[in-house]
């Protein structure tokens, strides 16, 4: 008899992956005003993984809770998550003014907040995206596991349940690695885990009735102090044209000319 799963899926609203990012005129961050935003693609994979666990039936899933920290517009991604199958969601609101003053919330702050949510909501499985496409930190899942003292399996490409243990196949530098870990645990998702479903229009309309709780950082009493300060953001230097060489001898000559060998 395996324990029922109570899943937490934290998601992030980021600049849409198809948009070409631009540096803002103050050179301190990426321009986000008026730019299309959507759910972090890795988070879509997490939601899909959670919903498929519920559809599989064993072990039973009690509920799927989606959570997002960010400005008021985050409700859009939470609604999408609920349309994909999450049961309810929590929106921890940070105003734009607060972000301007203190800076974006950092992975450690997010991890501490998630720890608090896990304890409050009595979760036994947290599925996160491996990283968000705006800061590419790849830290939150790991930090959360550390704070909670739970096992973690990151960059998951396959998740299987065996009684109270979870067998996770991870994508690592050298290939794949399979870990077996008891619940409760933290899993972060990678691209080959699944193909997220479309949120169909009837589901979006039904999801409007699902519960969306609004809270603030203060409600959790979490230290969300910033430890990093972004000094400057610049575009990478423009790509220089290349040159063609006739054969290997030509290449060696060219490399000698450039002083490389």
């Amino acid at each position: 008899m395996s324990t029922a799963l109570k899943i937490l899926v934290p998601i992030k609203r980021v600049i849409d992956y198809a948009i070409k990012p631009r540096v803002n005129s103050a050179r301190t961050a990426i321009e986000t005003a008026g730019v299309k935003h959507s759910m972090n693609p890795f988070d879509e994979l997490s939601i899909e993984a959670a919903v498929r666990m519920r559809e599989r039936g064993t072990p039973a899933v009690t509920d799927i809770l989606a959570l997002s920290v960010g400005p008021p517009k985050c409700v859009d991604v939470l609604r999408t998550a609920m349309a994909m199958g999450a049961d309810r969601s929590i929106h921890v609101e940070i105003s734009d003014a607060e972000v301007k003053e203190k800076g974006e919330l950092e992975p450690l702050g997010v991890a501490k907040l998630l720890k608090s949510v896990v304890e409050k909501e009595q979760r036994n499985l947290v599925i996160l995206g491996k990283q968000s496409i705006d800061d590419d930190s790849n830290q939150t899942g790991q930090m959360l596991a550390g704070l909670l003292g739970w096992g973690q399996a990151t960059q998951a490409s396959k998740i299987e349940f065996e009684g109270d243990n979870v067998s996770v196949t991870r994508e690592v530098d050298g290939g794949v690695e399979t870990l077996r870990c008891p619940l409760p645990m933290v899993i972060t998702t990678d691209l080959r885990l699944n193909e997220p479903r479309y949120a169909s229009l009837p589901n979006i309309m039904k999801a409007k009735k699902n519960k969306l709780e609004k809270m603030t950082l203060q409600d959790f009493g979490v230290d969300e102090g910033r430890r990093l300060k972004t000094l400057k953001v610049e575009e990478p230097p423009a790509r220089q044209g290349g040159g063609k060489v006739e054969d290997v001898d030509g290449m060696i000559k060219k490399l000698k000319e450039l002083g490389a060998i």
Binding site: D16, A18, I19, S25, G34, K36, R197, Y198, I204, M205
Partner: protein, 632 residues
């Protein structure tokens, strides 16, 4: 798929044993709408009972199941939802109609009056493209405090127009020409229509409109009783390139409404079908179009003159081709510039994209954008037909509003205010009609009041006054004749002439001459600072359709199309498409040495191919929504 059906139905009859309800052949019902199919199936059952034959199973997919028992999810019934008014398209017309409807309903205390708006772009405003200099008359009426500094939810990004300039361009010079009175922009605002629609969308949600971006209406639903429009259906998602459903398949959804307003913008795909079905152009001329290509640049502060509006004619277009350029300074060191090319251009070697890149090198444009950065690109067809091309706008069960009907004022180059006003008038008429006859039994709604209101409104008088200006460019005097006559109209006649000039021929597609009859045009290579190649520009549109979906640009037979069209026009599709969708790739194995290829993923939804294809054999349909271009 089609070839499987006769076999399947034959096999089915063989397999059915007496006592099993003989299912209707799937082929016979395939072309009916699901509603009609359901109705017909329901009619079948009583007969079955009379002859004492029992239904083997009553579920729809049992009936439609194949011989090999594979269930085709595309045959599933769609979920339906009933609303009071359904609006297709979230541009200024659609949003204005939605807001007005809900304003009227809220005033009367009818909170349960449902207005639903669907939009194919992933976000409101993402697919709309315009210069844009807006005349605020319509929005002043709809939302009076839209620009009021006291209003916390005012529209913050309107740049008041300061200076107007009109120039006639030769290759290296710019001759000032007087601007007709219609083109004085004092009191108008330069905006990004993308941002404006986003803002209108927020106002719409505030008053209770249900807005669903990311869902394209792909099918019109007709009532089985009288053939009137009873709503729309969104497209199925998750179909692979070969047409088979994938694991992520989601059936579309139907919206049933007593009034459906179509606000798809210029040359809407569903509007095209409706105009044909109800013969809405029986008393008007066919629509003529232009293609507008636009870029937004971030320029150096020294070159920026906030609020300045420049319009140009002449270079680079030949005198046989109507068109002109614009350059607006707005926002924070941002410049919107572009070129409109009349799609009745005769030379198939002309490439509107190439002309646009050429135009940017003219000193009047180059001096502003030099040293700046191009941040965005887009293109969209626009209406040039004006008064003569306005179709009948009301039909049983709905109406056409905005550019999809065609209310753009060509000399003013403004269509936003007329689009919004038409939306508001349709909303008023729809609301009155629905309140007067609240039950379905009172029959189909026909918005006579809308047609009347249009005729009494400023839209009519405005378009009537300038009706002769655009057609005056069709004479053998070309550009010069047009400018001279338009000058007469603007300053002296003001539309009060007894004559109404006609547009040329059956449509823009017919104006194209053969490639052999016209001089070939060579376009200079892009320098990557001012001008760019087409694929770089497409990457700036943010377009990214899912690759594994059916090609949404429907050409029946690619080989036949190529064999027919290539010898005559030598690849005109490659030149008129501003996104490089159509290609004639060299292929020694194929007839004529080329292969016709459609790169549907690049499409930026401009609709030019549907308009300009000389044989009118390209049918633009909505692709799967969501991942798609974002216009500046």
């Amino acid at each position: 798929m089609a070839s499987r059906w006769p076999v399947a139905s034959l096999a089915r009859t063989r397999l059915t044993t007496p006592g099993i309800f003989s299912r209707p052949s799937r082929r016979a019902y395939s072309h009916y709408t699901p509603a009609r199919r359901r109705c017909l199936l329901q009619q079948q059952t009583p007969n079955c009972l009379l002859t004492h034959r029992k239904a083997f199973s009553t579920t729809p997919w049992r009936r439609f199941a194949d011989v090999d028992d594979s269930f085709d999810p595309r045959q599933q019934d769609r979920e339906t939802d009933e609303v009071d008014v359904c609006i297709v398209g979230g541009g200024p017309a659609g949003l204005s109609a939605a807001i007005r409807l809900k304003q009227l309903a809220n005033e009367a205390g009818k909170d349960d009056f449902r207005v639903l708006l669907i939009e194919k772009a992933g976000e409101l405003g993402a697919h709309i493209l315009s210069g844009n200099v807006i005349e605020s008359s319509a929005v002043d009426e709809l939302l009076p405090n839209w620009n009021d500094t006291e209003n916390p939810s005012r529209f913050e990004h309107a740049t008041p127009a300061t200076k107007d300039k009109m120039r006639f361009l030769r290759k290296n010079s710019a001759i000032p020409i007087p601007a007709p009175p219609q083109m004085k922009n004092h009191g108008n605002y330069i905006i990004s229509l993308n941002q404006f629609c986003k803002w209108l969308g927020e106002r719409a949600e505030e008053v209770g409109v249900e807005v669903y971006p990311g869902f394209a209406a792909s099918e019109v639903l007709y009532s089985k009783m009288d053939g009137s429009v009873m709503g729309v259906a969104t497209n199925d998602l998750g179909i692979s390139r070969s047409g088979k459903p994938k694991a992520s398949f989601e059936r579309g959804m139907e919206f049933h409404a007593r009034v459906t307003l179509f606000a798809e913008g210029c040359h809407g795909s569903l509007t095209k079908q409706i105009i044909k079905k109800f013969d809405l152009r029986r008393d008007s001329q066919s629509q003529t179009y232009g293609l507008g290509l636009k870029e937004v640049w971030e320029v150096k502060p020294e070159s920026f003159r906030k609020g300045e509006i420049v319009h140009t004619m002449g270079y680079p277009l030949p005198s046989s081709t109507y068109g002109g350029g614009w350059l607006y300074h707005f926002g924070d060191n941002l410049v919107s510039l572009g070129l409109v090319v009349g799609l009745d251009y005769p030379n198939p070697w002309l490439s509107p994209y190439g002309e646009f890149q050429k135009m940017k090198h003219h000193p009047i444009y180059k001096s502003v954008i030099q040293g700046g950065k191009c941040i965005s690109y887009g293109a969209r067809a626009l209406n040039e037909g004006g008064f003569q091309s306005i179709p009948k706008c009301a039909f049983p069960g709905g109406a056409l509003i905005g550019d999809t009907a065609g209310f753009l004022n060509v000399p003013k180059i403004k269509g936003t205010h007329t689009a919004m006003r038409s939306g508001m008038l349709a909303a008023q008429a729809a609301y009155t009609a629905l309140i007067a006859s609240p039950n379905m039994d009172n029959g189909t709604v026909f918005l006579f009041n809308y047609e009347d209101a249009l005729r009494k409104s400023s839209i009519w008088s405005e378009l009537k006054q300038v009706r002769n200006m655009r057609p005056s460019f069709h004479s053998w005097l070309g550009l010069y004749g047009g400018i001279m006559y338009s000058g007469l109209e603007a300053y002296i006649f003001r539309g009060k002439t007894p004559w109404t000039l006609k547009h040329k021929g059956p449509g823009d597609y017919a104006a194209t001459k053969l490639a052999s009859e016209c001089p070939k045009i060579e376009y200079p290579k892009p320098d990557n600072e001012i001008s760019f190649d087409i694929l770089t520009s497409v990457s700036r549109t943010g377009t990214n359709h899912e690759e594994d979906q059916p090609v949404h640009l429907q050409v029946e037979d690619w080989e036949a199309h190529k064999n027919d069209q290539y010898p005559k026009y030598k690849g005109i599709e490659n030149r008129f498409c501003p996104a490089g969708v159509y290609e004639y790739v060299e292929d020694a194995n194929k007839e004529l040495g080329v292969k016709f290829q459609i790169n549907a993923q690049n499409c930026i939804h401009c609709k030019t191919c549907d308009i300009k294809a000389p044989a009118q054999d390209i049918n633009w349909q909505t692709p799967q929504g969501g991942r798609d271009p974002t216009t500046p």
